[in-house]
């Protein structure tokens, strides 16, 4: 479904991605993990066309998408939820959803309603301005907004960062439900415990390069990868997850 081959990306003169390669198959939840500054968010931005790759190839559903404008990439069925949520604060919850539903011609009013329904907490707040929502509610809205465009692939950047445990639980349920409805997911996640509870395939990114790829079991069988590239804290998370 989505493939990256040898993708390089720069911010000005800073070389961030050094030949990233990864793949997402239809129906999978793929987790991209790594330390801060490893290039995880840049990878998602490169896929979305927000940071055009300087080298390499990105394909989606068999089509080359690197070099295309973000709105054209969105029109193919890719949806991105950025790390900082970026909900439209001056628009209501309902209007945030409508923008996504109307922008690509992939979606319908029914899709928009369904997207809101993923997070029941948002339904009574449909008329409320997005800037007045809590951080967790804004994250739910950002995911619901992305789902409103009826994507084939949903890309989530640190969806649970800074959220209370009950919100993390709601986001996790939302991710799993999305997959149930046929949406493939590429998620960047620092919370390894959450990643292990939802992911099928894992890519570990370190200094702009993929240093590990494998299934959940394969990752669990490689604690040295986790402690070296994700940190001791994450290794403890892995032990806790096993128990």
């Amino acid at each position: 479904m989505l493939g990256l081959k040898g993708v390089h990306a720069h911010y000005g003169s800073a070389h961030i991605l050094h030949g990233v390669g990864l793949e997402v198959q239809a129906g999978q939840i793929v987790c991209l993990v790594g330390r801060n500054g490893a290039g995880k968010s840049t990878t998602l931005k490169a896929i979305m066309g927000m940071v055009p790759p300087s080298e390499g190839e990105i394909t989606f559903q068999g089509e080359r998408i690197d070099g295309r404008a973000p709105h054209l990439i969105a029109g193919l069925g890719l949806a991105w939820v950025p790390e900082d949520r970026r909900v439209f604060g001056s628009l209501s919850v309902d209007e945030n959803i409508k923008v996504a539903a109307q922008a690509t011609r992939r979606s319908s009013a029914a899709n928009a309603r369904d997207a809101l329904g993923f997070f029941p907490d948002l339904v009574p707040r449909a008329g409320q301005l997005a800037k007045n929502l809590s951080g967790g509610q804004q994250q739910m809205l950002a995911i619901a907004r992305a789902l409103a465009s009826s994507p084939e692939l949903l890309m989530l950047d640190e969806p649970t960062e800074g959220l209370a445990p009950n919100m993390v639980k709601a986001i996790r349920v939302g991710i799993l439900e999305s997959r149930e409805r046929g949406v493939s997911i590429l998620v960047v996640e620092q919370n390894l415990r959450l990643a292990l509870s939802v992911g099928d395939v894992f890519f570990v990114l370190s200094r702009g390069t993929v240093v590990f790829q494998g299934t959940r079991d394969e990752l669990q069988a490689a604690p040295e990868i986790i402690s070296e590239h994700l940190g001791i804290g994450q290794a403890r998370e892995l032990s806790a997850w096993r128990e």
Partner: protein, 289 residues
């Protein structure tokens, strides 16, 4: 008292009129961070498009009034695609300088084609008269222009608030990068809005022709007043622009009524005081940078 009343009435009428130019300016800035200094020249182009429609094509005033923006919109779209599109991601100073240059080119072209003189156009037949308002004889056409301006401005707000394209405009104004990532073609949206804003300015130029007369520099004052209104209201904030337009118009009209030579100074004083206390504009969402 009578003099004060007429000054206020003139201010309200001019405020309604100023809405047409301020809303376009604010929309274009909010959407694309484009500081359009050619807005006044496009307003002047509207006045001359009216003359072309009436004297060149032999149309009546009303058809020519409709024709004027239709002639100016393609010119504005061409300007946007050729001169603004390539520099839209650069800091605001680039578009400011480029549109400043374009305004000189438009005014120069007008002077080349029509000369530097002033053309006086009488109001259309049924509206040449005056009406008695509390003992003051007031031109009917001015009141009509104010009402028409209000209706057109209300139409602009209706489009922004209640249509899919208006929703996209608000989303792009809020966060252009995110709107683009959701599938909104922000580049064409700015072209469309730039064209429509120019259409509004041209309509204002044509509508105001029987009040202010038509001359190549007619856009200079309206550009200044519109910018003051937009800055006062908060750059990119449409509702703020409405209040800004009326504050500027009333300050200019009342101030000008009592201290004629100091009317511009009064206007700037009002805006400066407001900005000292509210640097991002009175209605605050605008960005200072």
């Amino acid at each position: 008292m009578n003099f004060f009343f007429v000054s206020v009435l003139n201010g309200v009428v001019y405020g309604c009129f100023l809405l047409l130019t301020s809303l376009g300016l604010s929309l274009v800035f909010g959407l694309g961070r484009v500081v359009n200094f050619a807005h006044g020249a496009l307003y002047a182009l509207g006045g001359y498009a009216l003359i072309v429609g009436m004297h060149g094509a032999g149309a009546g005033y009303w058809p020519a009034l409709i024709l004027a923006p239709l002639l100016v919109v393609p010119v504005a779209i061409l300007i946007e695609r050729v001169a603004i599109f390539p520099i839209r991601h650069r800091p605001e100073i680039y578009t400011l300088l480029v549109t400043f240059g374009i305004s000189f080119m438009i005014v120069g072209a007008i002077e080349y084609a029509f000369g530097t003189g002033t053309t006086l156009l009488p109001p259309p037949a049924p509206f040449v008269t005056t009406v008695d308002i509390f003992g003051n004889q007031y031109p009917v056409y001015r009141l009509l222009a104010a009402v028409v301006s209000l209706f057109v401005s209300a139409g602009v707000f209706a489009v922004i608030l209640f249509t899919p394209v208006g929703l996209r405009i608000r989303a792009v104004t809020d966060d252009p990068g995110m709107a683009e990532a959701l599938g909104v073609n922000t580049k064409w949206l700015l072209t469309l809005v730039f064209g429509c804003a120019a259409g509004l300015a041209a309509f204002a130029g044509a509508l105001g022709a029987p009040i202010f007369a038509v001359h190549p520099e007619m856009g200079t004052n309206i550009l200044l007043d519109s910018f003051l209104a937009v800055i006062l209201g908060g750059l990119g904030n449409l509702a703020g622009s409405v209040i800004g337009a009326f504050v500027v118009a009333l300050a200019k009209s009342i101030g000008g009524g009592y201290v004629t030579d100091w009317s511009i100074a009064v206007l700037f004083l009002v805006v400066a005081i407001a900005l000292i206390f509210r640097p991002t504009g009175v209605f605050g969402r605008g960005r200072v940078a």
